[in-house]
Symmetry: C2
């Protein structure tokens, strides 16, 4: 009896500080992500990854950017083209040609607009169409984000990707790190040979106006910290300023590539993460917003443990 | 008569292509900004500017960042402190200590958390309070942005700054390039000696939870393109990685400083700009969003012509 009483006292003592504190801090979104069980994560197939090796930096350090291609039903003609371009090693030797602050980093053939000098594209690329910037949707996405969005009827996550939706269409959204297809003016929809990634505030006006084909899973800092171009729209004014792309390979062709995974938006962890993002009550915060936008929410990605 | 007829034909000829085209492209937001008359711009007082000179880059090029302090009624205790810190040349010799991708660049005293080594603050700094993260508001802001916002009752622009508002409070918002005050956990509200600027998607959850004191008017690329820190929260792990701040001066003490101006949110140009931003119908766009968020809108800034 004595021992049991002592144990009860210890328990009370351990609990008391939390009870008497003015507020017990809620877990941060990062803590919820870190505590998510393995079942709340989905492995990203290496066959859906592009491994882009930039030329080393000034100190000789490797710069690798890993990009996940968006799954069907999104942008399927463009992702098929990109797989063909990678298989043909077409991206090897092109370069980052544009870095516009708070907007995009773009890579492609610097001579692409000059028919006499442009690097020939491999045969068999599919034609692409504006109608496919969005996909048909017969149901709400896997996760519907509560709250208001300035750009769409609703937002959330589908197949592990941030999306927006209307009554019968759904589309990926231009969040930081998303990868899209450069194009000329409408109705040109781009081939997939000219790509960009977002390095600033989400340019959501581009949603439904351009094909989104992927997202940077690791190594975005090798693009986002590049010197900004001083030409119009952030294009580099001289070839010397460009960063060469050594190679782009599909993930399952790259020996030793780490495994990556995305949080499952239908999981309990994701629901808790989304709630915490919209209502920060952890120790640093005093005024929860009561909402969060789809790009500040995103979908947590990580190297598999 | 012959001459007048010929002139009429020329005019028709010039107009005809636009009339026969399927759609006459609307002006881009940039074109609206470029065409705004001088009366739709307000000069920024040099006395409200901070000129921060970073150490030159690896090629010896100067790196100047120009920051405008937010006007009353916003964050007045902090901006008063920052003026005192600048007058005491306190920022001279500190450094950029943190660069976290898609979040913030932060500068301050690297030894600030070590009482024995911290750089002494000048006397007379005001105490700051969480209640002043927002300001009382008895009316709507100068410009109210139509549409929905995930984080606040409404958004718009007040005194030339992007803001959000509730029934009786108003506050600046964490857009790309906004400058805020680093602090410890609540109820610490920071002095103004530790500052950061946003270099990613707007972290609007920080609104009403931290003091915003300014915005970068020119030179953000010298901060946003810095190498990312590899330590926790993007802090640099060694002193060698930091970028030194040579000096910070008030604008009217800097010889030859260009004049800067902000578009007036009550002007016709700003209304046209906001409408165009929310409904892109220029040549590149096919699907106008019908809305825009306060940070994608912003307030146009430029060097005075």
């Amino acid at each position: 009896m004595l021992i049991r009483c002592a144990a009860a006292l210890l328990l009370l003592s351990a609990v008391a500080p939390a009870l008497s504190a003015p507020r017990k801090p809620a877990p941060t979104p990062s803590e919820i992500v870190a505590a998510a069980p393995p079942t709340d994560w989905a492995r990203i197939a290496p066959a859906d990854l592009l491994v882009m090796e930039l030329a080393p930096d000034a100190k000789g350090r490797a710069r690798r950017v890993v990009i996940q291609l968006v799954p069907p039903p999104f942008s399927t003609a463009w992702t098929a083209n990109i797989r063909k371009l990678v298989a043909a090693k077409w991206f090897d030797g092109i370069a980052v040609v544009r870095v516009q602050d708070n907007y995009v980093v773009q890579w492609g053939d610097a001579d692409g607009d000059d028919k006499a000098k442009a690097k020939p594209l491999p045969p068999g690329l599919a034609s692409t169409a504006e109608a496919d910037y969005t996909a048909p949707a017969t149901a709400a996405p896997d996760f519907v984000l509560p709250g208001r969005d300035p750009y769409a009827r609703g937002t959330g996550a589908e197949k592990g990707w941030p999306v927006a939706f209307a009554k019968d269409r759904m589309w990926p959204v231009h969040c930081y790190g998303m990868v899209g297809v450069g194009r000329n003016v409408s109705p040109d929809a781009g081939t997939g040979a000219e790509l960009y990634t977002v390095i600033g505030h989400a340019p959501r006006a581009l949603d439904r106006n351009i094909a989104l084909v992927g997202r940077v899973v690791e190594g975005i800092e090798h693009l986002s910290s590049l010197p900004r171009g001083t030409g119009n729209l952030g294009f580099y004014e001289s070839a010397a300023e460009r960063t060469a792309i050594r190679s782009v390979r599909i993930g399952n062709e790259v020996a030793g590539l780490p495994a990556f995974e995305a949080m499952v938006p239908t999981s309990a962890s994701f629901a808790a993460y989304a709630k915490a993002k919209a209502n920060r009550k952890d120790a640093f915060f005093i005024a929860p917003a009561g909402g969060v936008d789809v790009c500040a929410l995103g979908v947590p990605l990580r190297r598999a443990k």
